[in-house]
Subunit: 269 residues, 2 copies
């Protein structure tokens, strides 16, 4: 049953289903569920909701414990503060980390935890580097992800496009999303790997409006340093924050973003 829940997050499963599958009495299934519930809770794996009644059953909602969240974020901060990660223009090399399954599993659980009680119908991101983040969040929320592209491809079919102002370069750019990939009236969570000015995020917000849908929230893996007043969006969450880049000495310093404060009420300063 543990394995079934972990592979089917957010899916309501009836006791009858388990009783048939394991050829057991409902009463022993109930006892086992209580044990799983306690273990998931103690280990910070997630919440096992049990819903009584004929239409009831159990549903697994993945999460992460405070201690594990904090440890992971500070480990990442130390990793990103290595000077060989600094790239020209104040960017940070992240591709290796965002290709590691154990990093992505943590990122997915962290973001799923943040939006645990909210309705999320789709995860939106922009190609290419946001995709791993979106997929890992999709994995733990069991919502599909959609990829906005800067260049449309034949394999997307008809698309809707919006223009947006890039925060860092102040240029007008265009992004497109396949028409059939998002249903009107969806609740959409926006995620990305790195945010500087926030122009790309703003573009995705306009895209969500184009699809008559609603923004649930914005969470990025890392936010970069920007000049005072040049950030285009205010309401966002970041797991990590680049707080100092010195391109002369080639040093970089990364610390925890506002995630820990927002989700666990932690002071990170």
């Amino acid at each position: 049953m543990t394995s079934y829940f972990l592979n089917n997050p957010h899916k309501l499963v009836s006791l009858t289903y388990f009783a048939k599958r394991y050829e057991s009495a409902k009463s022993s299934i109930s006892e086992d569920l209580a044990i799983i519930k306690r273990t998931f809770n103690v280990r910070g794996i997630g919440i096992l909701e049990t819903i009584p009644g004929a239409a009831g059953g159990a549903r697994f909602i993945p999460s992460i414990g405070e201690e594990e969240a904090e440890r992971f974020i500070w480990e990442m901060a130390a990793e990103l503060s290595q000077e060989n990660r600094l790239l020209p223009g104040g960017y940070v090399y992240l591709s290796d980390l965002l290709g590691k399954p154990e990093v992505l599993r943590h990122v997915g659980r962290l973001i799923a935890r943040q939006y645990m009680g909210r309705q999320v119908d789709a995860i939106m991101t922009v190609a290419t580097k946001g995709v791993p983040i979106a997929q890992s969040v999709a994995y733990y929320t069991n919502a599909p992800f959609v990829i906005v592209r800067r260049d449309s491809k034949i394999t997307e079919g008809s698309t809707v496009s919006v223009n947006y102002v890039s925060g860092s370069s102040q240029r007008i750019e265009k992004m497109e999303l396949s028409k059939r990939s998002l249903r009107r009236g969806s609740h959409v969570l926006v995620v990305d790997d790195f945010m500087k000015g926030g122009g790309t995020i703003n573009g995705m917000k306009s895209m969500i409006e184009e699809f008559d849908s609603e923004l649930v929230g914005v969470t990025v893996f890392a936010e970069g340093v920007v000049d005072e007043g040049s950030r285009l969006i205010e309401d966002y969450t970041s797991l990590l924050k680049v707080d100092n880049v010195n391109t002369l000495n080639k040093t970089i310093h990364v610390s925890a973003g506002n995630y820990l404060a927002k989700v666990f009420g932690k002071r990170t300063e």
Copy 2:
């Protein structure tokens, strides 16, 4: 323990670790491992390898049962045969499916099953649509994935580039991979969403040579229809196969690829 194994595939865990974590005697841990092993096996979840001795422990290797594999592939074939999936040029609209976590979980387990006994140090794919496939395989093999790009970005640092001939258009194209994303001497598994002529796959093969690395195998989600003799690669596996496209009537027919035959010795004709 079940949850620990599922979240840490391919990782050798000592009995001592579990004994400490759960404050239990090693003998009861051993008994529980035997139960988990049997259940994983019966349900086709995977193999629990137990290694005796002081340096021993247990390792979970994800897999998928034959029945589940077959059911999933034929379900996908029926889904892809819907005529509204046909795009101009004989391409098939896949983006929605490759954004669904339950589809990706199956694809990941199928491909992980195929390369179960082989050493895989990295999964390679090309941006953007191959990324979800690569990530899901990475998830179940616990190997990192690397993304080859057609356009290099500032955020990749220095790159290695190769030229290749696109199979369908016969044009010379270029692809790039960040220098630090792949270690020399790696065993690399190549995956992609869709293969027509195989030019892109060939490009990735050259890239693997550039990194003094070794190709483990090539597996794609779906292969398209190509003219006789214009396929550039021979040794590959496909989960699905587009076997008939009629652009006039706008009909498409998709069946199982050679995966079932190769992995389970099934006849699919």
